[in-house]
């Protein structure tokens, strides 16, 4: 017996991982910022290898591709950029309360599509019958309700039966997509395209619609921040997210909080859908949200449940996405290069979180302690 234990002696592993206490906030953000900058440089380097252009030139193409020529007084590209940021940010904001509650709402895409569908139905059916001042509130209310309903269905099952919400919300996306396909086919008269409708919360031409969308989302950012940070609801959400048992112990109705939060989350997604459909496109198709619902999940997570950080992250990612697409275009390569670019940057940031939460201790620091 004794021999066995001797032969079983293991060497101490080369390094081991220790959980850190909370890191100082500026250090943590320093690590994240460095990761983002380094990964962007690496990706720009790779793209300059692919395209055969210099790195500085690549940066310039990205900048021009996103902002255009601002110095000549042409702000159109800049406005368009704001609008794209606004939509993605709106979706990410919608997910933030749910994520804070540790409810994995992967259904932003579907909820936004349903919100958009609500807006589209109102726009088509009520166009010309009601003055715009009446129509706009109706559009808003209907699309919010549609989004909220789509969001609350998984929440009800989660609250009462503990159904896996990640998978449930994922599946809901595709049901929504098919409903849109059905509606588009019916209303498009078999052409699979709905002709743009004039009525909507923002005019389809001119610069006004850029500001309306961006303005609504700016207000929303502030509202979500205040809601999460200073309201009683926000407090309840964070307690439920940390520990459901604690929440029950201090008398929070967990089921109610889950359902209420998902109503809000779905409603904000509905707003995003409304902004897309009645603020920009004035029409709807299955690709109206275009996968941004999934990107928003990553944005909300990168934003660490803080709407302002989400704003910064969204601005960076939209810039990279558009810019990288332009870089690939400039060399007649496929613009899906943008997805690779953004994917790698996000993977790096996700990975760097490890160095914030844990620290690695290398063997040999305690050499003297041998038996």
């Amino acid at each position: 017996m004794a021999e066995k234990t001797v032969t079983k002696l293991h060497r101490e592993p080369l390094f081991h991982i220790v959980k850190r206490d909370d890191m100082v906030w500026w250090k943590a953000w320093g690590i994240r910022a460095i990761t983002i900058v380094v990964s962007i440089f690496v990706m720009v380097f790779i793209s300059s290898l692919l395209t055969g252009k210099g790195m500085i030139q690549t940066f310039e193409i990205m900048y021009r591709g996103v902002f255009g020529r601002i110095e000549t007084g042409s702000f159109k590209m800049l406005f368009k950029y704001f609008e794209e940021v606004a939509i993605l940010l709106c979706l990410a904001l919608a997910l933030t309360p749910a994520f804070k509650m540790k409810f994995w709402n992967c259904g932003a895409e579907g909820q936004a599509l349903m919100g958009g569908l609500g807006a589209m139905v109102c726009m088509i059916e009520l166009e010309g019958k009601l003055p715009l001042a009446v129509l706009i509130p109706i559009i808003a209310v209907v699309s919010i309700i549609c989004g909220a309903v789509w969001g609350v269905i998984p929440a009800i099952f989660k609250a009462f039966f503990d159904t896996n919400e990640t998978l449930f919300t994922l599946m809901m996306n595709y049901i929504a997509t098919q409903i849109i396909a059905y509606y588009v086919y019916i209303k498009g008269g078999g052409s699979n395209v709905i002709q743009p409708v004039e009525a909507g919360i923002a005019p389809s031409t001119g610069n006004a619609h850029y500001f309306i969308n961006a303005g609504i989302v700016a207000v929303l950012t502030l509202v979500v921040y205040i809601y999460l940070k200073y309201s009683k609801h926000g407090y309840e959400i964070s307690v439920v997210g940390e520990s459901q048992n604690t929440a029950r112990y201090i008398g929070i109705n967990v089921k109610k909080v889950i359902i209420r939060t998902m109503l809000i989350s779905g409603a904000v997604c509905g707003i995003a859908g409304m902004l897309i459909v009645s603020g920009i496109d004035h029409s709807i198709r299955t690709a109206s949200v275009g996968g941004q619902g999934f990107t928003a999940i990553m944005m909300a997570w990168l934003g660490q449940c803080n709407p302002f950080i989400t704003l910064i992250m969204t601005a960076i990612i939209v810039f990279l996405n558009t810019g990288a697409g332009k870089v690939a275009d400039s060399c007649h390569l496929n613009s899906a290069f943008a997805d690779i670019f953004v994917g790698i940057v996000i993977l790096c940031v996700v990975g760097c979180e490890f160095f914030i939460k844990y620290s690695v201790k290398i063997r040999g620091a305690r050499k003297g302690n041998k038996e």
Binding site: C106, F161, T166, L167, Y182, Y185, M298, I340, V342
Partner: protein, 329 residues
């Protein structure tokens, strides 16, 4: 007509079968790999890249191509490509303990981007003239049927007329089912997925199991992508043509209640559901669109029912989606 419908359903079902069996292996280790759609794209495009260069090396001359190599090169490339994706995922989620949902979704973005990028630019990067990839010759090798299938009537059509990846898919599913339920390795793997702390205390190397499960799962899923481009799409790559099949594979995992044997039947059923709209008489195009949501609706119903009934053998792995850190109890 009915025979054609069944064959079509099987053809459509095989990528889902590969994807879901791969995802089952991964999920049994407690990792919800939402990167499977991306992995399947990468599997497809790696196979395409491999056979593209092989066809070029042979001077696009079918006489010079060796049937065995023409099949093996894409197959190996697909496996290597998807294992690399699996390694990225498991490095981030197992070693770095990153959030699984976010990692998976980022991997999907990355994988789909990779697929579309190389699919759209490979001929240009390879110095060719063509604007799209059509590997009909390699695809021909892939969809070679058994020689005596034609002679056996309907029986031959339904059971023997498929490409070899279809049979491989079923074999893989059966083997995975056997390993999971009948061997010590499978028992250990299930223990890791149910309660990694317990498994760790029992002396199972949790990290190694998670890595292997994710990588093997990805390799299997990647073959699904390969089957799609080579057998279904005849070697022609179209961007985004693979569509949401990856998500459907994840849906199928739930539908199959985490059992590979059920996944075989389930995948052909899903294939039939995807396809039934073309075969039902008097169904308008609009209704067809509604029909396509059936696989997802069925999945949701299954998901809800298993969570209501709380039968222990039908539950997802208890530690699904949660990171494991030994020092955190």
């Amino acid at each position: 007509m009915i025979i054609q419908f069944i064959c079509r359903a099987i053809l459509l079902g095989v990528p889902l079968l590969f994807g879901s069996v791969g995802e089952i292996v991964t999920e049994k280790s407690g990792h919800l790999n939402l990167g499977i759609p991306g992995v399947m794209y990468v599997g497809a495009i790696s196979g395409i890249i491999g056979s593209f260069f092989y066809e070029q090396a042979c001077g696009n001359d079918i006489a010079k191509m060796n049937a065995l190599l023409a099949v093996l090169i894409p197959l190996l490339c697909a496996i290597v490509g998807s294992v690399i994706m699996g390694l990225i995922y498991s490095f981030l989620t197992v070693t770095l303990r990153a959030n699984q949902n976010v990692t998976g979704l980022a991997l999907t973005t990355f994988g789909i981007g990779l697929g579309n990028f190389f699919g759209g630019s490979l001929t240009k990067l390879g110095g060719g003239e063509a604007t799209f990839i059509a590997l009909t010759k390699t695809s021909g090798f892939f969809s070679t049927k058994l020689p005596f299938a034609d002679k056996l009537g309907w029986f031959g059509d339904i059971f023997l007329s498929h490409d070899f990846l279809t049979y491989l898919a079923i074999i893989v599913a059966v083997i995975v089912g056997f390993v999971l339920n009948r061997t010590r390795v499978g028992l250990n793997l299930r223990a890791v997925g149910e309660s990694p702390a317990t498994a760790d205390a029992a002396g199972i190397n949790v990290t190694r199991y998670k890595y292997f499960a994710t990588c093997i799962g990805s390799a299997i899923a990647g073959l699904g992508g390969l089957q799609y481009v080579m057998a279904y799409a005849n070697g022609v790559w179209t961007n985004n043509a693979f569509g949401d099949r990856g998500w459907m594979a994840i849906a199928l995992v739930i539908f199959a209640l985490w059992k590979p044997s059920v996944a075989i039947v389930g995948s052909f059923l899903f294939g039939a559901l995807c396809n039934a709209n073309n075969y039902i008489q008097g169904l308008g195009t609009a209704t067809q669109e509604l029909f396509k949501m059936l696989p997802y609706v069925v999945t949701i119903i299954v998901l809800v029912v298993i969570s209501m009934r709380k039968r222990r053998e039908f539950q997802p792995p208890a530690h699904l989606g949660l990171p494991y850190f030994r020092e955190e109890r």
